[in-house]
């Protein structure tokens, strides 16, 4: 018999001598205490995730079944009442609608704008780094700061706001951009601030992807007689950008779902928020936080919103075949 086989069958001298508990501990600890170190390093973060994310999430679901005015340890179980009240509340369904329209508009617009910027910057022979930085720079600005600049200097409603000054040269009357509901000029302000902030970031993603496309493909296309311009864009560039495009659309949709900062900072005042352009997060902020601490109702809204986001994201991932191997 070889030495190796003998070692396998004979009990290890150390294990045999030590009590059974130590053996179990050794097995749990894994070779070279790997399991121990795994938990030492992952544990704190897993714990943080549990305490700061999963517990509040579960608590929120729990609260949504109770009448929880000004308390997080409610006693009055109300079943689905919060949910039915929410779905019957016009303000909430309106906010969902607002949010759908906003997403349907902002996602394609940002996509097209950042792709065109990337295509243009990519073709530059000189000063490419300069333009890349210039377009990317707004991404470093905070939503709050940008919203305040838009509200107070570019689109304020008086004669010395930038937009009104420019229009004034052509003899137009001053417009109160954020207060006019007919036509809804406030959308112009909301959409432009978001475009300004976001387009540069997605341009960088597209630019990186564009630079990864092999020049051989373009050469081959030229040899095959493809006309530069639309045909090459349609049949070479866009298909090569597929993976990036999917990622960009997903990120844009998630960002649109999280819309809060610029809406809140542009349209709210000390006395609340107007009943238009009010995304669900802003609506819930006013019902569940602030003075109206209707935490059960607010939680029901948060749960519904989470469900909607989950369904949309999963649907989108299926539709785009996210995670499927590129062919």
């Amino acid at each position: 018999m070889s030495a190796v086989a003998e070692q396998k069958t004979a009990p290890h001298p150390e294990t045999a001598a030590a009590p059974a508990g130590a053996g179990r501990w050794r097995r749990l600890a894994g070779p070279q205490n790997r399991n121990v170190w795994f938990w030492v390093f992952v544990g704190p973060f897993a714990l943080g995730l549990l305490v700061f994310t999963y517990v509040p999430l579960g608590w929120s679901v729990y609260l949504s079944f109770f009448d929880a005015h000004n308390t997080v340890s409610p006693t009055e179980f109300v079943g689905l009442d919060n949910y039915t009240a929410l779905l019957r509340e016009e303000a909430f369904t309106d906010s969902l609608w607002t949010f759908a329209v906003f997403t349907a508009f902002i996602v394609p617009t940002t996509f097209v704008l950042s792709l065109s910027l990337a295509l243009m910057v990519n073709r530059l022979r000189r000063a490419q780094a300069f333009f890349r930085s210039v377009f990317f720079l707004p991404a470093a600005c905070s939503y709050v700061v940008a919203a305040l600049i838009w509200k107070m200097s570019l689109f304020n409603g008086v004669r010395f706001g930038l937009a009104n000054t420019v229009l004034g040269w052509f003899g137009a009357e001053q417009t109160a951009w954020l207060s006019t509901t007919d036509p809804p000029w406030y959308w112009l302000v909301i959409v432009t601030v978001r475009l300004w902030l976001q387009a540069g970031f997605y341009m960088i993603l597209f630019l990186a992807a564009l630079q990864r496309i092999s020049p051989a493909l373009y050469e081959a296309a030229a040899v095959d007689g493809a006309r530069p311009g639309w045909q090459v864009l349609r049949h070479i560039t866009l298909p090569q950008l597929r993976a990036t495009s999917v990622a960009v659309v997903l990120l844009l949709v998630i960002n649109a779902f999280q819309a809060f900062d610029e809406f809140y900072n542009l349209l709210s005042d000390a006395r609340g928020y107007p009943p238009y352009a009010r995304p669900p997060l802003v609506y819930l902020y006013y019902t569940a936080l602030g003075q109206g601490q209707n935490l059960g109702y607010g939680s029901a809204g948060a749960v519904l919103l989470a469900l909607i986001i989950a369904v949309v994201t999963v649907g989108q991932a299926r539709w785009f075949g996210l995670g499927r191997k590129e062919d």
Partner: protein, 418 residues
């Protein structure tokens, strides 16, 4: 024993995590041995010197070690969240407390602390601090809002200070020119700041004394449709860089009339001298009467205060007994009316000019937002008002929806107290 590098790192990380979990509630640190420690929260006042003043009052108190926290930002949200935990304040200033804070047992009953001094407090502002006969906060100072108008601009346009809502609509239209608008009611056209004031001016109320909806009446729709008329005639200043609470738009001549707070009076006086006057919100209709909204921040005690008796005793000392501190607080920093009637009578700065008019309006025409007017009701009403003013929605139909919503909300508040 030698310490391995790994153990060293692990211990270090663990310690770091532990120490990162501290928090400062204003209670723990220091201690000068003056008895129990109390934390007292104030919202950030704009007027210079207020913070030093309240810290001075706290230091003057002998029986407890009071730590003042001066909290900028969304104060109502902060206190609402802090009251859910034990790490909140012991004593806090509140623009309420709200009905649900009282009903939820989050604040303590201060009726006994007020004692006989109760009758010396301005009854209009004391009422919203009272629920089922008990008092839940001690009013600190009275704030009010009113209409500022520029005398020179009005006489230039040949308009007299408006006495009725119809006159206001006409005056605003007359005063609107290429560079100046007639009236500024806030950047949202008035839906936020006016609240129930137009209803009060029409002789109605938000909630009646017996807890019913106070504006289920055709006069309500009539008054609100006049706000729409102001907006539709483009007489309103909208989109000003600073909102109604700041007199900048009025002082800079962007508008001939502005709705703002009493606190703005010193700034207006400084900029315009005698060239301005103040008015209440003008009356509307046969049953109407002029109206100004009044309100008061009150000192309340959290039900989670560690030493409840000490916290109550401190509130009693500062906001009931120390009338000299109260006078200093109301009159030395910015412009407020003392909540105590005896102090308001003695205030020299409030006896002449527009300030005297303002004080008179607050006693003759003052309306405080009722305690039963909950945030849910307010949001419903404000949404409707905004739709009426800006989108030209039918006032009667919008109000009908609000009445339904508010009735449900009032029924909820009756349900549990019964």
């Amino acid at each position: 024993m030698t310490i391995s590098r790994r153990r060293m790192l692990a211990t270090g990380t663990a310690l770091g995590l532990l120490t990162a979990c501290g928090s400062n509630t204003g209670r723990e640190d220091g201690g000068s041995g003056k008895g129990p420690k109390l934390s007292h929260w104030y919202h950030q006042y704009g007027e210079a010197g207020t913070e030093e003043a309240v810290k001075r009052y706290a230091a003057d108190y002998e029986k407890a070690d009071v730590r003042v926290q001066w909290r900028p930002g969304n104060y109502d949200e902060q206190t609402a969240a802090a009251l859910l935990t034990t790490s909140g304040p012991d004593v806090f200033e509140a623009n309420g407390p709200t009905l649900d804070q009282i009903r939820g047992g989050q604040v303590l009953d201060l009726t006994e602390q007020l004692g006989d001094a109760k009758d010396d407090f301005n009854p209009v502002v004391l009422k919203p601090k009272t629920y089922e006969g008990r008092i839940w906060a001690v009013p600190q100072v009275v704030d009010m809002q009113l209409l500022y108008y520029r005398k020179s601009l009005l006489s230039e346009a040949g308009v007299r200070p408006p006495r009725t809502l119809d006159e206001l609509v006409d005056a605003a239209k007359e005063l609107t020119g290429k560079k100046t608008k007639g009236l500024f009611l806030g950047n949202d056209g008035g839906a936020g700041v006016l609240g129930g004031t137009p209803l009060n001016a029409a002789g109605l109320s938000l909630v009646t004394d017996d807890g019913k909806v106070g504006f289920d009446d055709p006069a309500a729709a009539r008054a609100l449709s006049k706000l729409r008329a102001l907006y539709a005639a483009k007489s309103l200043l909208l989109g000003a860089p600073s909102d109604w609470s700041d007199p900048s738009a009025f002082v800079q001549g962007l508008t001939a009339m502005q709705w703002s707070g009493l606190w703005a009076l010193p700034a207006v006086q400084k900029a315009l001298g005698d060239d301005f006057g103040v008015l209440p919100f003008p009356a509307d209709g046969p049953g109407g009467k002029a109206a100004v909204p009044v309100g008061a921040y009150g000192a309340a005690v959290s039900a989670r205060a560690r030493d409840k008796a000490a916290a109550k005793a401190y509130v009693k000392w500062l906001w009931v007994e120390s009338t000299d501190h109260q006078r200093d607080f109301a009159l030395s920093y910015g412009f407020h009316i003392p909540a105590r009637l005896s102090l308001a009578k003695k205030a020299d700065t409030l006896t002449k000019g527009p300030a005297a008019d303002a004080v008179r309006y607050s006693t003759d025409h003052g309306n405080a937002e009722p305690l039963l007017w909950t945030p849910a009701s307010r949001v419903a009403y404000q949404d409707a008002l905004s739709r009426i003013i800006k989108s030209g929605a039918d006032p009667e139909r919008e109000l009908k929806k609000v009445v339904r919503k508010v009735s449900a909300e009032l029924a909820r508040t009756r349900k549990k107290s019964a």
